[in-house]
Symmetry: C2
Subunit: 203 residues, 2 copies
């Protein structure tokens, strides 16, 4: 129906499975793209420019900020991280839905810029499941796991600020829910006023 793509802010606590779900979603639906962030930090081994991040200089990043060309950005550990507007706008105008995997703070900046952005919060089915997943990685000691669980609990409180909550019971169900949300959003009357008026006026 609606021809323009939908801009989606996508968040969730560490261990909720954001990357896995988004990878499967993009494979399943060629009309969905995940935005690539821009950063000034050093490229690590195995990282590919334009895939994991756009790796740029500090000078370039600050130029983009001054040109108001960043959808959202923040500085961590003396490096900038953010979402450049241009590729997002281009994908949206091609009818692709664009998913921004960002933190709640970034989500706020996006909402100030786009009035029709939607937001989805990915949740683990329970803290027990989240704990199992964090332990399953086998890379963290007990103290780190307990700290991550504490942070996750705080992060999940932010779900109330999102439009939709998707519970990651399984990758398949989470992907299906997100696809349904995108499909339903395209049917919203706000996105179809032109279509309705074209039918009435027999265009």
């Amino acid at each position: 129906m609606s021809e323009k793509g939908i801009l989606v802010v996508f968040s969730g606590p560490s261990g909720s499975g954001k990357d896995t779900v988004l990878n499967e979603l993009v494979k399943a639906d060629s009309n969905v793209k995940v935005s690539v962030s821009m950063t000034t930090r050093e490229k690590r081994d195995g990282e590919i420019d334009g895939v994991h991040y756009y790796f740029v200089t500090r000078e370039y990043f600050e130029k983009k900020i001054s040109e108001n060309s960043m959808l959202e950005y923040a500085e961590y550990a003396k490096n900038y991280y953010g979402t450049p507007a241009e590729p997002v706008d281009e994908m949206l105008s091609q009818g692709k839905s664009v998913i921004l995997k960002i933190e709640v703070q970034g989500a706020e900046q996006i909402r100030n810029r786009y009035d029709d952005v939607i937001s989805i919060f990915l949740m683990p089915p329970s803290l027990r499941v989240l704990e199992q997943r964090l332990r399953g990685r086998g890379t963290e000691d007990e103290e780190t796991i307990q700290h991550r669980l504490f942070i996750a609990k705080e992060e999940i409180r932010k779900a109330y600020d999102y439009d939709y909550v998707v519970i990651n019971e399984s990758i398949e169900s989470a992907v299906a829910d997100i696809e349904a949300i995108l499909c339903a959003e395209k049917c919203k009357i706000e996105r179809n006023k032109k279509t309705v008026s074209e039918v009435i006026n027999n265009v």
Copy 2:
């Protein structure tokens, strides 16, 4: 996610394919039910009580109105038509989504009673397609067809008052859109506050 079913007001102009789409939807998804209306008019040949309508006496219908047990009702040609609340509430509490195929006036009455009702308007892809469908029936003369098209145009203007617009390009796509809308609505944060709080509190 959300355990309670979703109440859906479903409308569309004559010839938009409401019955066909709903029949297929109910076949495809056992969690969706279509509400049966109640009427005081005479049962016609082939009509089954409880399937096409609940056929009741005028006295019984007026009792239901006085008990505030009708979700919506109207009187046409000296007969009452309306939606009894009890079966709808029962299906909703069983987690079934319930579709009310009603007119825009009825939709307004429903909204006054339920604050979380959603509304879907089924549209033909164009007036040309609607005209073809009406002619395809082969049962109406030119004047009737022109009159129906005029009415349809007026009815389509009401689409702006609905939450969602589904364009009946094909039965399959319309059914898929409605299923997506129901799935997305179940992910809305408003319907999941309890779930989020249970995860946070580790229930």
